[in-house]
Symmetry: C2
Subunit: 215 residues, 2 copies
């Protein structure tokens, strides 16, 4: 039998209980980390929101840091995936429209990950710096090259590809990160599907017209 030669007996085998509790905790943690940031969040508040005692949280996630990184792991994949909308062979106007629509949809349906990402950036990316300098850098380089070919072929107006991405990211993610500002300023209780569609339309118009593309 496999002996546990370390001080901590945390199990490896997964069960239904484990999956359910881990999911509850991750969901609560996403909310609290997104509002308070890493240092501001307390494991007690996360546990309270998840409806489990604090020691139970530490049973599944040894440290606050481990919990935070588990969340980031899930989220990072989602962001990378969305960008695959831009690939060779696709029509620039179509691809960009779809990419914007997809990013707006993520901001609407899953604002938590976007806010968590924003918190991490504001804090100086202390936990995911390596990821930025690795996978994200490669992805941006690859997609920038694609945009460059579009420019060279005269299919879109000349523009700095990296800045195009920065602006699209910002414009789409602001509808998650700054949603409180929008409800407050526009005096709305919630932001409905129509609102997000206006956002999508506005950003699409600016990007496509901005690049000299037809709608």
């Amino acid at each position: 039998m496999a002996g546990k030669f370390k001080t901590k007996p945390k199990p490896v085998k997964a069960g239904a209980i484990r999956r359910r509790n881990v999911a509850k905790i991750l969901k609560a943690a996403e909310d609290v980390f997104a509002r308070k940031g890493f240092s501001g969040a307390s494991t007690a508040e996360i546990a309270r929101l998840a409806g489990v005692p604090k020691p139970n949280l530490h049973y599944y996630f040894r440290t606050k840091q481990a919990l935070y990184e588990a969340l980031l792991d899930r989220i990072l994949e989602m962001w990378v995936e969305a960008m695959e909308e831009l690939h060779p062979g696709v029509d620039p106007a179509d691809a960009l429209s779809r990419y914007v629509a997809r990013k707006i949809d993520l901001s609407r349906r899953l604002p938590g990950p976007s806010k968590l990402w924003a918190m991490e950036m504001l804090a100086g990316a202390p936990h995911i710096g390596a990821f930025l300098r690795g996978r994200v850098r490669e992805l941006v380089a690859e997609k920038s090259a694609l945009v460059e070919t579009w420019i060279e072929q005269g299919r879109i107006a000349p523009i700095a590809p990296a800045h195009l991405f920065f602006v699209i990211w910002a414009a789409t993610q602001t509808y998650a990160d700054f949603s409180v500002q929008m409800t407050s300023v526009l005096n709305r209780k919630t932001l409905d599907a129509d609102f997000y569609d206006e956002a999508r339309a506005t950003i699409t118009t600016l990007v496509l017209n901005g690049l000299g593309l037809k709608r």
Copy 2:
């Protein structure tokens, strides 16, 4: 003579020492609050960064909350002011170009306020909600009306004015809030003047072309 009938003897008269120390503390606080948020920041870290003992910080700012609000007071005025670039009688293309340039310049020279604002929004605007529902709402209503007249006069393409503002804010402020992401992804040590000028050019292109304006 005016008696101090409350328990706290904090002075009212301003001196050179006071001004200098308050400035040191506010500068340090801006940095720490921007990185950690309100709940995540500690007065001890702010005091350390400011180079004063913690009790001295509390001598000038009774509570962490008071320090935070003093910062927000300074910052909010700056944001309102920049928006005055858009006023009746000005040419839309000129006004929008100047507004974007000014916001990018703020992101470059004073990233702290932008990050602090972003932190406050992510946290759910617990401290400045009233300001958003008051002054900012009025300002957006006023400037939206101006944009509407431009649309009615056929001077710019039809667009939802509020969304135009949200996108411009996001696109410009991302160069302060997410600067870490940009240095990491682009493998640069710092973001120089040229970089910010590319940003300004990109956003201006997208906005002006996007609205059907000439450059």
